[in-house]
Each structure stands twice: as structure tokens, then as C-alpha cells.
């Protein structure tokens, strides 16, 4: 039963980590601009992220340690310090993006400015994290996250042409406006391969007290959880392709995305979009705030655990409280959430090699992982991710600037 319930960790990781503001925005932009042609990028990113999440879960179950903890122990504090600072900056920007997403969802429903909601959302997030345990967060966000299936239902109800849909899983090299095409492709992969996703998942596995008996279940959780996020992201792309693209709406602003579900659900579509976006961003905000607190506490060797009373791990609580306060401030001063998303995705892409390389080395440490160390399949995928991460680091910023991707 405990193992079956562990699926919620996969789904919450997926809703928060896979299906965040960046992934929803880039999927919708891909569908609106290129119809089904960029489906392959979500497919590729899903495959890679399933392997990476499986590896981080396997690592936690086999060693009973989370990744930042192990990287610091293995490579030393000095080695880890630079990636840790870059990662923290990335965490803050992504958290700002997700808080911006919740505020934007509330702006849609209330009509009040996005920045108006920054402080109330920040206070709500801190209160929720202070008062709840890890299991409460897992269960509530997994359950609420099911609302994002509205994108999948809408996609099916539009009866997309199967031939075009399947053709979208084959990369196209002759797209119109190649800079924009590759800009969006890079943004989708960059948005899905978020470093905080692995840190959250491995720390969550430690919180859930996984041991080596969970290694088999972990595979299913990684595939099903990430598969869930992938299907919803593909749903968003298909809906945008069926609703926005034929009208010539290219999605230059989040307001345009809010119209996506109104053809399939004329009365509820607008509200469903706002709630779906709000829930996905809420889960992502909790996940990023916790991931930052996990990484910081594990880097400095502090007590950590969302299920502990805040008095027992005060510094852990102080990190997520401070991070939420700072990120809320970014939205409060009126930074455009779309521009912030682009910047956050670029920093995520930049930090990925710092995270992927030590991760790959650790996953091959047979002293640490024994029979659970990486085999050739996992290593091949990890090397592909590392190479992709290096390419992303170099091209994401010029492509975003020149091609308008993301």
C-alpha cells in the first residue's frame, strides 16, 4: 500500500516539475506557432526526464541520501559551492515565475492586476509549507493536479488529425522560421529538464523513507509520474494547435493562452484554464521552494525535512520563507511573468551541466550504489542529457533573443 501511494510523489513531482509555467507556456506556443510539428520535443524531453528521475529516485533509495547531500560529501564543499550559488539563483527565478503563474491565474479570475496578488500568494505559500507535512503536500497537489487533465480532454474532443499528430513525433528540419522553431524546441527541452525536479524527487524519496525495496517501484513511478506531465503538456500543445493556430494567434502573451479551452468547454473553459494553471504553478512553487531549502540545508549540513516541526529545522524553514519572500517581491515590482519565464528557463539551462556531470559520476560509483549503479542504458541517456545540457547552455540565450523562442 505504501508503495502504491508512493505514486503520488511521482505525480506531484510531475505536476510541479514537469508541468510548470514554462512547460505550459512553451507547449502552447509550440502548438500555436507550429501546430503538431514540435510534439517530438516533448516526447524526447519526457524520455530523458523519466531516466533522470528514475536515477535520482534509485540513488536516494539505494543510499538513503538526497543528491545535493551526496554531491557535497563526494566532491567536497568547495567544489559544490559555485554550482550551489548558480542553482540558488535559478531556484529564485523559477520560483518567481511560478508565483507569477499563480498570480496570473488569480488575475484572470478576479480581474485585479497580477502584481496585486504577489504578497497574498507569498503569505499563503509560506503558511502552507509551515503548517503541512510532506505527505499533505504530495496528496493535495496530486489530487488538485488532476484538473490539468482538462487539457487532455479538450485535445481529444477537438479530434486532431491522427496522421499529422503522429508526424509531429518525427523531428522536422524544414520548418518555417527556423530560428523561432529551434528557439521553442530548446525552450521545451530546457523547461522540462529542470534541475530542481531531481533534487526535489530525491529529497522527497528520503522524506518518504524509501529503501532499496523501492527501486523497482521507483521505475514505475518515474515513468507514470513523468508520463502524466508529458500527456498534459502534449494536450496543451494539441489544443493550441487546434484552437489558436487556425485563427493565427501565435501566443505572444499569457492572456492569449487563456482562450485555449473555451472552444472545448464554452462555459467552464476559461475557469478551467485559470485553475489548471494556478494548480500547476502552486505545485511547482512548493516544489521549487522546498528544493531550494533541501539543497541549502544539505549543502551546509543542517537539519532538514518538511515533515519535521519548523522548530526542529528552523534554518530549513527560513530558507524557503526567504526564497518565497524574495520571489514574490519580483512579481510585486511588476516584472512581466513571460519575460521572467524566459530568463528562468535560460538560467535553468545554464545550470544543468553543473548538475548533470556530478550526478553522472555519482550514479557510476559502485562503492556507493553497489549493484544499483548505472548500467549502459542509463549511462547513454545521462551522457545524451549532459551533451544536450551543454548545447542548451550555449544556444538557449541566443536562440531566445534572436528567435523569440519560449
Amino acid at each position: 500500500m505504501k508503495k502504491a501511494l508512493a505514486l503520488t510523489l511521482g505525480i506531484v513531482t510531475s505536476i510541479g516539475g514537469f508541468l510548470d509555467m514554462g512547460a505550459l507556456a512553451t507547449s502552447a506556443q509550440a502548438g500555436a506557432s507550429y501546430r503538431f510539428q514540435l510534439l517530438w520535443t516533448i516526447g524526447l524531453a519526457t524520455l530523458l526526464v523519466i531516466f533522470l528521475v528514475e536515477m535520482s529516485g534509485r540513488f536516494a533509495a539505494a543510499t538513503r541520501k538526497a543528491l545535493p547531500d551526496a554531491i557535497r560529501e563526494h566532491f567536497g564543499f568547495t567544489f559544490w559551492l559555485v554550482p550551489f550559488f548558480v542553482l540558488s539563483l535559478s531556484h529564485l527565478l523559477v520560483l518567481g515565475t511560478e508565483i507569477g503563474g499563480i498570480c496570473f491565474a488569480l488575475h484572470l479570475v478576479s480581474g485585479l492586476p497580477t502584481s496585486f496578488w504577489a504578497l497574498p500568494v507569498g503569505v499563503l505559500l509560506v503558511t502552507f509549507l509551515w503548517r503541512s507535512t510532506f505527505n499533505t503536500i504530495e496528496d493535495s497537489t496530486s489530487l488538485l493536479g488532476l484538473i490539468t487533465l482538462a487539457f487532455v480532454v479538450a485535445a481529444v474532443s477537438h479530434h486532431p488529425p491522427m496522421k499529422d499528430l503522429l508526424a509531429g513525433f518525427v523531428p522536422t528540419l524544414t520548418a518555417e522560421e527556423p530560428l523561432k522553431y529551434w528557439g521553442i524546441a530548446v525552450s521545451i527541452v530546457g523547461a522540462v529538464l529542470s534541475p530542481y525536479l531531481f533534487y526535489f524527487y530525491s529529497s522527497g524519496a528520503v522524506e518518504d523513507d524509501w529503501d532499496s525495496s523501492f527501486i523497482g517501484v521507483n521505475r514505475g513511478i518515474a515513468a507514470l509520474g513523468m508520463g502524466f506531465g508529458s500527456v498534459v503538456a502534449m494536450g496543451a500543445l494539441v489544443v493550441a494547435a487546434m484552437v489558436l493556430a487556425p485563427r493565427g494567434i501565435a501566443m505572444d502573451d499569457y492572456h492569449q493562452a487563456a482562450l485555449m479551452l473555451t472552444d472545448a468547454f464554452p462555459f467552464w473553459g476559461f475557469l478551467l484554464f485559470a485553475v489548471g494553471l494556478g494548480v500547476a504553478c502552486l505545485a511547482a512553487s512548493l516544489e521549487v521552494a522546498l528544493s531550494m531549502a533541501y539543497a541549502t540545508a544539505q549543502t551546509f549540513g543542517w537539519n532538514w525535512g518538511e515533515s519535521l516541526d519548523p522548530r526542529e529545522d528552523a534554518r530549513f524553514g527560513a530558507v524557503y520563507t526567504g526564497a518565497i519572500a524574495l520571489s514574490s517581491l519580483i512579481i510585486l515590482v511588476g516584472v512581466d511573468p513571460l519575460k521572467l519565464t524566459l530568463l528562468a528557463m535560460a538560467t535553468e539551462a545554464a545550470v544543468l551541466p553543473f548538475v548533470a556531470l556530478p550526478f553522472l559520476i555519482l550514479m557510476n560509483d559502485r562503492k556507493l550504489l553497489k549493484e544499483h549503479a548505472n548500467g549502459w542504458i542509463s549511462n547513454t541517456v545521462a551522457v545524451i542529457v549532459l551533451l544536450l545540457a551543454l548545447v542548451l547552455t550555449v544556444v538557449s540565450i541566443p536562440l531566445a533573443l534572436l528567435g523569440g523562442g519560449g
Partner: protein, 150 residues
Amino acid sequence: MRNAFSSSPAPSPVRRARGGLIALLLFLIACQPSSPEEQLLKTVQPVGSWLASLEMTGRKWSSNSVPASFVEAMTASAREAIGKAAEEAAKSSARPGLRDPLRALLAEAEEAGRDLRRAVDQDDRAGVARSVGRLSALHARFEALTKGAA
């Protein structure tokens, strides 16, 4: 025997990678629009999407699918984007045969957005239907003008 070619060391992987990256950046820069006409078309490109968005928003408001506050927010975002494109178009050195009709169309687009918002504020369904029709015609004209010039 060593010749001029064999005497130079083979480029290291780092140098090769650096060369590849420079080539990629040059390719990306080379793909940017060059003539004033191309630059103007790129600047005004989002306007077509905004006209379509305003049209869809008006239709959705008429069928009670979106609230009036959303129309207000959408028209504000559209006005900002179209206004920015109009400013750039005013500075453009593209040939007047392309620039002037585009500037006139952008001014009409801004006005059509204002009309839509006014009609929604006054709960004037007939006015919204008229605005939607006008936005649809403007979108078609915009497409014809930009596609014809491209």
C-alpha cells in the same frame, strides 16, 4: 617529410567546439532580417496575432465564455503591443508603399481595440458584434498586406 599543413598541430576538440559555436552564432545572426522592409515586417508580425486574439475575445465574451475583466486585460495588452509596433513603424525607413498602409492599419487596429472595450464596458452586444466584424476585416487586410510584401 613535413609540409606546411602537417607542421600545424591538429585543432584541439575545444578549439573545434569554439569554432562550431562561432559558426552557429554567425548563422543565427545571418538569419536576421536585413532590409528595412524585412525589419518592418518582423516588427509588425505580432499585430496579426493580436487582431485575431481581440476578435476571438469579442466572440467569446458574446457567448459568455470570458468575463468583461478579461476583455479589459486583453485589450490593454493588445493596445500596448500594437502601440509599440506603430512606434517602430513610424521610425522605419521602409518604402512608403509598404510603411504607410501598415501605419494606417495599425492606427485602425488600436481604434478597433478601444471600440471593443467600450462596447463590452457598456454591455452593448451589437457593438461587440460590429467590433468583431471590423477586427476580422482588419486581420484579413493585415495578412494580405504583409504576405503580399514578403
